[in-house]
Symmetry: C2
Subunit: 129 residues, 2 copies
Amino acid sequence: MTDTLKMDGYEFRSGCSITRSMELWGDKWTLLITRDLMWHGKHTFKSLQESDENIPTNILSDRLQRLMHWGLLRRDPYQERPVRYTYELTDAGRTLEPVLLEIMKWGHRHLGGGSYDPKTGVSLEASYE
Amino acid sequence: MTDTLKMDGYEFRSGCSITRSMELWGDKWTLLITRDLMWHGKHTFKSLQESDENIPTNILSDRLQRLMHWGLLRRDPYQERPVRYTYELTDAGRTLEPVLLEIMKWGHRHLGGGSYDPKTGVSLEASYE
């Protein structure tokens, strides 16, 4: 699905795959937005704003732009005046699922965080606050 | 190996395992430092400074402190006047390997970044600059 990624002319800081990945999507907010788009049926700006983490509006807006810029996300208008969009991960964006799962597994095992099984839709709450 | 993680009293932003993980080690520099400690035999401040990504000294210093604070990293003095340390991931820190591997795999497949096989020690260069 690499064909939809838009990397033309971008210069990475190094040849390392981890560096390159982190430059595209490696910050907490981007991954949390990707989580909500991937698993939690959130596809509007408003619903994405309503996560437990209270993402600031300007950061949400910036990260959505970035994800679209790289071809990981697309949007389509569903209303005019004022225009409103629905957001969907592209096929390229959906390839991030194994990364999200691996990070989730670590946080579940080592930090008592909740877990979610995308195959069954079963969620487990965090084991401590 | 959770026993060496030091989370006493820390309040996470949410119960989500991804949020929790990202709060501990989810930024580009922390993961690059972890990569160098895990796979590239870099165990002194000086050698960690010499990565291709040119990590700024103050950021390196801050991220080492953070990793030690959480129990993911330890240091031992190997010289006095001036005191110098060697840095080693703890057992808890080494549990991050599958996460690093998954991120690397994504960057290798989708962004042409290099790859490294910790089992064989074989490195592949990035396929484009």
